[in-house]
């Protein structure tokens, strides 16, 4: 036997279940408990940039809307800077900008939406510039481990994005594009399974 490696194992994931709101958005579960719930204000009022709203529905493999999903959003500011110390430019991040949001659906329709600013391009690996994008993490009843994906914008030049370029079937890149429906408004539907299945990422 070789020497054992002494790394710990990552704690296994489990589904967030149908009552995820109790812990992460108790107001939606039907009660007020915290002075302030987290994740409702991604960009803050001061950050420069184009104010946008993104809306969508998550569909399951039968096409039905998933009404108990929770999404979390992570993005850079309009200059492509993350509000995090590991971003080399973080000290210049826009004032009041946090870049993180928590989004839940309407229990009746499954529609979700969030307000933010359009992120700027971010420097990717080997200095290659990534097109403006928002990272998403999706949990729900029936999802055993959170699903990662990215939102890109159909009114940006995405042709040189190194992540989209990794998608072998070019048609599938479309599943990551939010479609502009009005000035400052975008639609981003997610299909968990089947026709038009959204590209999910192992990050």
């Amino acid at each position: 036997m070789p020497q054992p490696l002494d790394y710990l194992k990552e704690t296994p994931s489990q589904t967030a279940g149908p009552y995820v709101h109790i812990g992460l958005a108790p107001g939606a579960a039907g009660f007020d408990i915290y002075r302030r719930e987290l994740g409702w204000d991604i960009a803050g009022p001061e950050a420069p940039g184009e104010r946008i709203r993104i809306e969508g529905v998550v569909h399951d493999g039968t096409g039905a809307p998933v009404k108990d999903v929770m999404l979390e959003v992570w993005q850079a500011d309009a200059a492509g800077i993350h509000a995090h110390p590991d971003d080399p430019r973080h000290e210049a991040v826009a004032p009041g900008f946090r870049g993180w949001g928590r989004v839940i659906t309407d229990f009746d329709t499954g529609l979700w939406g969030f307000d933010s600013i359009k992120p700027g391009p971010v420097v990717g690996r080997d200095g290659r510039i990534m097109a403006p994008h928002i990272s998403l993490w999706i949990v729900a009843r029936g999802i055993n481990i959170g699903l990662n994906t990215r939102i890109y914008f159909d009114d940006e030049d995405n042709s040189a994005d190194p992540v989209l370029a990794l998608i072998e079937q070019a048609d599938r890149r479309q599943t990551l594009l939010a479609r502009k429906t009005a000035p400052g408004r975008y639609r981003f539907d997610i299909r968990l399974q089947g026709d038009g299945e959204t590209v999910f990422l192992d990050i």
Binding site: D6, Y7, L8, K9, E10, T11, P12, S13, Q14, T15, Y19, V20, I22, G23, L24, A29, G30, F31, I33, Y34, R35, G61, A64, V66, W74, A76, H82, A83, H84, P85, D86, D87, F107, V122, V123, G124, R125, D126, G127, M130, H133, S135, W137, V139, A140, G142, N144, I145, G146, L147, V163, L166, I167, L192, Q193, V199, F200, L201, D202, I203
Partner: protein, 240 residues
């Protein structure tokens, strides 16, 4: 120094998306493979929380929704550390929990189980780990509850746990189970995890040393997040 990336997730240790005995996973699991990405700045960063975001009492579920007195149930402390795969503490990270009350009833408008709501129990808490990665909650032990999967499926007593870590790649939601619960072996959600050793990682042992005599028992639950490469050889995220 260039920011370092994180170890890849061991997807054979984690539950698969499709676990047919957990019926809801059948239509909610992607059918196509995940696209593997090497970390960029978008992945190695993530939200940062501070003491201004939460209140110091948010981690006490015995008191944070008390209206006329304490909630009914077995009083327990749940505590542990958040570590990475290199056993280094993860300080200052947000840990959030939620659970049913002692009778297995959730305070959620979609929960219609006949067991009653406890007027003094909300069922959620949150805290930040200290500089050594420690966290602690005080609560009541949740009850088992039935769910519509097979006709007679019951969830083991469990507490849902959400933790952020330092990077978006470390984001994790899991469930804590209690030592000795015979329902663990029967639960299709637990058993979606293929490796029995991984299941054991979710079972909190009774921790008498952390109990408060004549007041409450304690359970210990350590959480391990993905580790991070050291720079033995440079893994450049940026050019030049």
């Amino acid at each position: 120094m260039t920011p370092a990336e994180y170890y890849q997730r061991d997807r054979t240790w984690q539950p698969p998306a499709l676990a047919p005995d957990y019926k809801t996973s059948v239509a909610r699991s992607p059918g196509l493979p995940l696209l593997s990405l090497r970390n960029s700045l978008s992945e190695i960063t993530g939200p940062v929380f501070g003491h201004g975001d939460i209140d110091a009492t948010d981690n006490d579920l015995i008191r944070n929704y008390a209206k006329t007195g304490d909630p009914v149930g077995e009083r327990i402390i749940v505590h542990g550390r958040v570590l990475d795969e290199d056993a280094r503490p993860v300080p200052g990270t947000l840990v959030e929990i939620w659970q049913a009350n002692a009778g297995g009833r959730y305070r959620h408008k979609k929960d219609t189980y006949l067991a009653p709501i406890d007027p003094n129990f909300g069922g959620c808490g949150r805290t930040l780990t200290d500089d050594q990665g420690h966290y602690a909650f005080r609560t009541v032990k949740p009850g088992a509850y039935p769910w519509r999967n097979w006709v007679n499926n019951w969830r083991p007593a469990h507490i849902h746990v959400s933790v952020f870590g330092r990077a978006f790649v470390q984001r994790l939601i899991t469930q804590l189970y209690f030592e000795g619960d015979p329902l663990i072996a029967q639960c299709p959600i637990v058993q979606a995890i293929p490796d029995p050793r991984a299941v054991e990682q979710l079972i909190a042992p009774l921790d008498m040393n952390a109990a408060v005599p004549l007041d409450c028992l304690a359970y210990r639950f350590d959480i391990v997040l993905r580790g991070r490469r050291s720079t033995l050889f440079e893994n450049r995220l940026e050019g030049n």
